[in-house]
């Protein structure tokens, strides 16, 4: 396990370097001059030139990248052009909100999707099973920002049960969490069902049945513990995708997470925030994927020794 971990961590470092390279490259390719934006309206040519030199924009790309990388490692992620705040603390503050939303989404997806999948597998070919199949087909196809709008319309505007948008209390969390979890609930329901059905057909389940085990005990103790391996992988992947989907959900619900920060920063051409946010989300995504793989290796020894 230690060797596998070391190998994966090394791979992680390489990917993170690559990701930061791509982020910087994309920012480098921006048509127009960030120095002009920074200097503001009515700045003289000298001002712009001074800012360009300060930011190192007169350097070749590789030098710029290395300097930027050194600053990143030292915790200096630059300053927001709009608010003049340092970028890193701003990002970390917003990431907490996104993390809260993503965790709520994953918990919801695991509970609701898991229960639906288990019920569908037990009552195979029943109307409950078909219902789950149809639900999960629609669930993976529904745009999360649209379901967000519908939830808002129904539960906040019409019924008035929950706040429309913003953050603060746990009641603010419910609608965005439901919206962001919609796709994942569908995927987990389908995955749990198929993985459980595969296990339920195996010999040791028949053995458990023949020795007189109760059906519920068979499902929960014997079948689910083995069906869990692929499910864990899907949960990890979903968590990563929730981070990406956060941009849309947070925009709908005015949730003060990193996704909304990113969307706002793009509109304001606040490039230090844009590149910091993209980098942080991508690195979190890569890290979550690594954790998922570790969990998978932990549950399934075959992977470790390959």
């Amino acid at each position: 396990m230690a060797g596998y971990l070391a190998k994966r961590l090394l791979g992680l470092v390489v990917v993170v370097i690559g990701v930061s390279f791509i982020v910087r490259l994309v920012m480098y390719l921006i048509p127009g001059d960030p120095a002009v934006v920074l200097a503001g309206m009515g700045a003289s040519g000298e001002d712009i030139e001074r800012i360009r030199r300060q930011l190192g924009l007169d350097q070749p790309f590789l030098i710029q990248y290395l300097t930027w990388g050194r600053h990143l490692l030292a915790g200096d992620w630059g300053q927001s052009i709009v608010s003049q705040e340092p970028v890193l603390p701003l990002l970390l503050l917003r990431l907490r909100f996104t993390g809260l939303l993503a965790i709520a989404g994953v918990v919801l997806a695991v509970v609701v999707g898991g229960v639906m999948g288990i019920v569908a597998a037990i009552r195979r070919e029943s109307s409950l099973d078909y219902g789950t199949t149809v639900f999960s087909l629609l669930g993976v196809s529904i745009p999360i920002f649209w379901i967000g709008l519908l939830l808002q319309l129904c539960f906040a505007v019409r019924l008035g049960w929950l706040p429309t948008s913003g953050a603060g209390t746990w009641r603010h969390l419910i609608l965005p969490a439901c919206a962001i979890a919609a796709n994942s609930i569908a995927i987990l329901a389908r995955m749990t069902r198929s993985s459980l059905l595969e296990v339920l057909g195996s010999d040791y389940i028949r053995t458990a049945r023949s020795k007189g085990c109760g059906e519920l005990r068979i499902i929960l103790r014997h079948a689910l513990s083995n069906a869990l391996i692929p499910i864990v992988t899907v949960i990890g992947l979903q968590f990563g995708y929730l981070l990406g989907g956060a941009v849309l959900t947070e925009t709908v619900f005015a949730w003060p997470g990193i996704g909304r920060l990113l969307a706002d920063a793009i509109f304001r051409r606040d490039y230090p925030v844009v590149q910091g946010a993209i980098l942080l989300i991508a690195v979190t995504f890569v890290f979550v994927n690594l954790l998922t793989d570790m969990a998978y290796a932990y549950f399934n020894p075959q992977i470790r020794y390959r």
Binding site: V14, V15, G18, V19, F21, I22, V23, V26, M27, L29, I30, P31, L137, L138, V140, S141, I142, P143, F145, W146, L149, L150, Q152, L153, V157, T233, V234, L237, G240, Y241, L243, G244, G245, V247, L248, T251, V252, L262, A263, I266, F267, V274, I278, I281, A282, F285, V286
Partner: protein
């Protein structure tokens, strides 16, 4: 997402030329339930997208400021939007935008991605290493995030949206094609061709490409679904196709302000996105079963 591909026995494909084989595939596709429903949905969308200008609808851009946010009626079957434009017409023209965009993006990404995957799988060594490291890095971003990053640099608009989505789609094709090529490369008929003195280029064209194409086709249908939903997401954020072009995501973002008084303005464009994505997902699932491809995570 590590992808491995299993395609049961290329040697057992039905005899006959490519035409007969693809006919057999279509027949098998229409025998799966998801294939039939998916084909029907997509065919309907293609039809209305092509026919939109000749259906005798209102123009999608004609404003009628005296009848804004009108509820569905005989003259406006889906109602009208905040500028009094006919919503049915805008939804159908939106199908044109989304379908066209997804087709071009996935088509171009398929060609480039397949070529790179073929090169990586066939050449091996440093070609493989360079291509696959680049692929790993691009795939380290959730696709909507990569598209956002690219759009934030290039600016919004139809072409930039297409470039952004295309760049996030290419590595997926590359990875899947490479996996197919690696699986095929060790098979006997490739060895035989090599022994007979065939060049790499010939082997790639005559043997690898036709035999490795099945998973790529399945994947293309699924990526069409992704392209439609990412394009709508970018449009919704105001960073995709720009108004007044009829685009579903942009329509939702413009209409959400009026949601309280006129729910139909957000209901129908969203429904359209969901149906089109559903159609491509079903088509992909149907093709997967018909071509007997397993895309395992």
């Amino acid at each position: 997402m590590p992808i491995s591909i299993h395609r049961s026995a290329t040697a057992e494909d039905p005899p006959g030329g490519p035409d007969e084989r693809s006919n057999a595939t279509v027949r098998r596709l229409l025998r799966t339930r998801s294939g039939v429903v998916g084909c029907a949905i997509i065919a309907a969308f293609v039809l209305v997208a092509l026919m939109a200008p000749v259906l005798g609808l209102w123009s999608p851009d004609t404003q009628d400021l005296l009848h804004t946010l009108a509820r569905p009626s005989w003259s406006h079957p889906l109602g009208s939007d905040q500028l009094g434009r006919d919503l049915l017409s805008r939804v159908l023209y939106g199908a044109r935008t989304s379908m066209g965009l997804a087709l071009v993006v996935v088509g171009v990404a398929l060609v480039i991605g397949t070529f790179l995957g073929l090169a990586a799988g066939l050449e091996g060594e440093w070609v493989d290493a360079v291509i696959m490291r680049a692929v790993d890095m691009l795939m380290a971003f959730p696709s909507i995030l990569l598209a956002l990053a690219i759009v934030s640099a290039l600016g919004s608009g139809l072409l930039n949206t297409m470039i952004a989505i295309g760049i996030s789609a290419i590595p997926r094709f590359t990875r899947i094609m490479r996996a197919s090529v690696l699986a095929l490369k060790t098979q006997e008929f490739i060895e035989a061709a090599r022994a007979a003195g065939a060049s790499d280029l010939y082997i790639a064209r005559a043997h690898l490409l036709p035999n490795a194409l099945a998973p790529v086709i399945v994947f293309a249908a699924l990526l069409m679904a992704d392209a439609v939903s990412i394009a709508a997401g970018l449009g919704f954020l105001g960073m995709g196709v720009q108004p007044p072009t009829a685009e579903w995501g942009a329509m939702l973002s413009e209409g959400r302000v009026y949601m309280r008084v006129a729910a139909h303005v957000v209901a129908f464009p969203g429904l359209a996105i969901m149906l089109m994505v559903l159609g491509f997902n079903l088509l992909g699932t149907g093709l997967r079963d018909a071509l007997d491809v397993r895309l395992a995570d």
